[in-house]
Structure formats: structure tokens, C-alpha cells
């Protein structure tokens, strides 16, 4: 496959980099780090563009790269080369960034509750509920099977509801599942 032209690459960057940045930001909880990892994502995307076979949407492919980049960062940050993603949780002293706070109390509450879930739950909620990827796309990004995506999403939502209730800041009408 021929190397992508500078113009085509910049078009892709212009179209998708904001959403990639937003996705990474939700995983790493830091503006500067999210920007750095967005750069890493697009450098990798450029280098491996010939491996993009067009079977998935390019955005799904970019999110998959950015997910790997962000997980690598989280592993290094926590100094455990092979920490268990299943058990990884937000450090209790991490502050909620201004970018989230300005969205209001309810969004902040939801964000903080998600950040207190284990990483696999965070990931599936970010992809399915925030980024609104399909089950198939989510499975592709996380390298899971579709059944695992369905089960984990269901468990993640239950854990989120419990976390919100535990925080005692949620109104009765908000926890009513239709």
C-alpha cells in the first residue's frame, strides 16, 4: 500500500483528533498527557497506515491505537509493567479536571463515579455510553468478543449505579431504571 499523502493525513487529523483527544482524556484524566498521547497516536497511525485494511471505520482503528497508547502510559505511570487492567482504579487523590467541572455538578458526579470503577468497566462505559460505539466496534477496539462486551457493559452499569448510590448525591428519580 502506498504511503498516505501529507494532505490526506492532515485531513484525518483534522477530522478525528478532537475525538481521539477526548477519549484519551477520559482515560488519563490529564489535559497535557492527553495531548501528548494524541500526538503519539497519530504518529503511530501514520507509521502503520499501510496496515489499515479498511475493514473497520478509520475512527475505530484510531481509537484502538489510542487505547493501546493510553494503557501503556497508565502502566508506566503506575510502575507496574503488567498491572491487571481488571483491577486498576483511579487514585483517590486525583482531582477532577476543570474541563469536566465546568460541565456542571451532574456531569462531574457521573465522571467521578466512572473514574472510581475498575478500568475494564471505565473502558466499556466510555466506549459504549460516551462514545456510543456499537458492540461490534467496542469488541474490536478492546480485542474482546462481543459477548464479553455485552456482559461487561451490563456489570459496569450495575457497578456505576451502585457507585452513584454510595456517593449519596443522586436523586431518587435519577436512579429509576426505565
Amino acid at each position: 500500500m502506498e504511503r498516505i499523502s501529507a494532505e490526506a493525513f492532515e485531513d484525518i487529523y483534522s477530522e478525528y483528533s478532537d475525538r481521539i483527544y477526548g477519549y484519551i482524556f477520559l482515560l488519563v484524566n490529564d489535559k497535557e498527557v492527553a495531548e501528548d498521547l494524541t500526538q503519539d497516536t497519530f504518529i503511530k497511525a501514520y507509521k502503520y497506515m499501510s496496515q489499515f485494511n479498511g475493514e473497520s471505520q478509520i475512527f475505530t482503528w484510531l481509537v484502538r491505537i489510542s487505547r493501546n497508547v493510553a494503557i501503556d502510559y497508565l502502566r508506566k505511570k503506575n510502575r507496574f509493567k503488567f498491572f491487571s487492567i481488571e483491577k486498576f482504579q483511579l487514585q483517590s487523590d486525583e482531582e477532577t479536571p476543570t474541563e469536566i467541572m465546568i460541565k456542571g455538578e451532574k456531569v462531574t458526579l457521573l465522571y467521578e463515579a466512572i473514574r472510581h470503577l475498575k478500568l475494564s468497566y471505565q473502558e466499556v462505559l466510555i466506549l459504549r455510553k460516551i462514545k456510543e460505539f456499537s458492540i461490534k466496534e467496542t469488541a474490536e477496539i478492546l480485542n474482546w468478543n462481543e459477548n464479553k462486551v455485552k456482559i461487561t457493559t451490563s456489570r459496569a452499569l450495575a457497578a456505576l449505579k451502585k457507585e452513584l448510590q454510595k456517593r449519596g448525591e443522586i436523586h431518587e428519580e435519577l436512579i429509576r431504571i426505565r
Partner: protein, 202 residues
């Protein structure tokens, strides 16, 4: 999918994380800096059979330039390094040794990334006004600077402050340049301030 207990709008809100255009454009510049073998934007306007001739002509021309530089080292101009090229940003780090280079342009606690018009103007003036020097320098280099430029190979220099006189040398040349006192003083003042901020970073 199941309802999200009244948080659907909040989930959507989290999909929109603010990011400025400047942040976006700066990142694009850094991405291109990170991609060493970036494609050329200009179309190849020469037919293929002319390419070989062009390469030969370029070889002869470069050979001429190299030989004439060798014989007239004293005439080398530091102004060729930056010229009027647009500096997209500068990476600055404390120098470790004379042969290594620390300001590789990546984000780290040891490297400051500067994008500031006044700094760029000061640095350009200092570099462009310098003259080749025969001075023997005893001290160790203090700063490594990488000027990342638009459409041009980045320029890497090491800077010395030898008893109040400022000298620098490009990483790909052995020629030492001396910066005039006034320009050198402002240049080194900037570098000291930046170095101070690097050392303060935990």
C-alpha cells in the same frame, strides 16, 4: 441498550472535551516533527530522466560548497542555521556532556518546550549575529537547544557561557561561534530563566 438511569445527557456531555485550535495545531506540528520521513508536499515536476541529471548537478554543487567551506572556515555564517525560517517551537534542556544531546523535543521533566515570539527573536538575533571563534573553551556546555522549524530540518546547538562570553556550536559542525556581548547576555538570561523552571519541575 439499557437506559442509563437519567444520565444519558451527561454521558453525551462527556463526549465533548474542550480542546483549543491552537492546541490542535501545535500538536500537528509536533506530530510532523515526530515523523522523520514525512512526505514532501510538492509534486515532482521533473520527468524521471531529468531526476538523475538533477542529482548529479546537486552532487557537484554540494561538493563545491563543501570544499569551499573547508578552505574558508572563517567565512562560515551562523545566520545560515536559522535564517528567516519560521521556528515552530524550541526544546531546551540542560546539557549533560559535550557529545550527547538532551533536548530531543519530547515532553519530559528535563526538557522545556518554548513557543514565544520574544524568545524566538532573542535566539535568532544571538545566532545570526555570532561570528566563528578560535577560542579554547575549558568549561562544559550548559544548554542544549533544538529549534524545530517549519519546512526545514531542525537545528541543534550546544551553548557555553565561558566567563561571561556566550558561545555555541551546531551538533553537526565543529565550528564554534561567539555571540556579541549584548546579544549573548540577553540570550543567556533567557536560558537561565528557562533552566530554572526545568530544575523546579519535580
Amino acid at each position: 441498550m439499557k437506559s442509563s438511569f437519567g444520565f444519558d445527557n451527561s454521558f453525551r456531555e462527556l463526549d465533548r472535551i474542550p480542546r483549543s485550535q491552537k492546541q490542535k495545531q501545535d500538536s500537528l506540528q509536533k506530530i510532523w516533527s515526530g515523523i522523520e520521513d514525512r512526505p514532501k508536499r510538492k509534486k515532482n515536476i521533473f520527468p524521471k530522466f531529468l531526476s538523475a541529471a538533477a542529482v548529479m548537478a546537486a552532487c557537484i554543487m554540494f561538493a563545491f560548497i563543501i570544499f569551499s567551506e573547508d578552505s574558508t572556515t572563517g567565512g562560515s555564517s551562523s545566520a545560515d542555521m536559522l535564517g528567516d525560517s519560521f521556528i515552530s517551537q524550541t526544546a531546551i534542556a540542560l546539557s549533560e556532556t559535550e557529545n550527547s544531546f538532551s533536548a530531543d523535543g519530547t515532553y519530559s521533566a528535563e526538557t522545556a518546550t518554548v513557543k514565544d515570539e520574544k524568545w524566538e527573536s532573542t535566539a535568532r538575533t544571538a545566532i545570526n549575529s555570532a561570528m566563528p571563534a578560535e577560542a579554547v573553551i575549558d568549561s562544559k556546555p550548559l544548554y542544549d537547544i533544538q529549534f524545530i522549524m517549519k519546512g526545514k530540518e531542525s537545528v541543534k546547538v550546544k551553548v557555553w557561557n565561558e566567563r561571561g562570553e556566550v558561545y555555541f556550536k551546531s551538533m553537526d559542525s565543529e565550528i564554534m561561534y561567539a555571540v556579541p556581548s549584548e546579544e549573548g547576555a540577553i540570550f543567556i538570561e533567557y536560558l537561565e530563566a528557562i533552566a530554572h523552571s526545568i530544575q523546579k519541575t519535580p
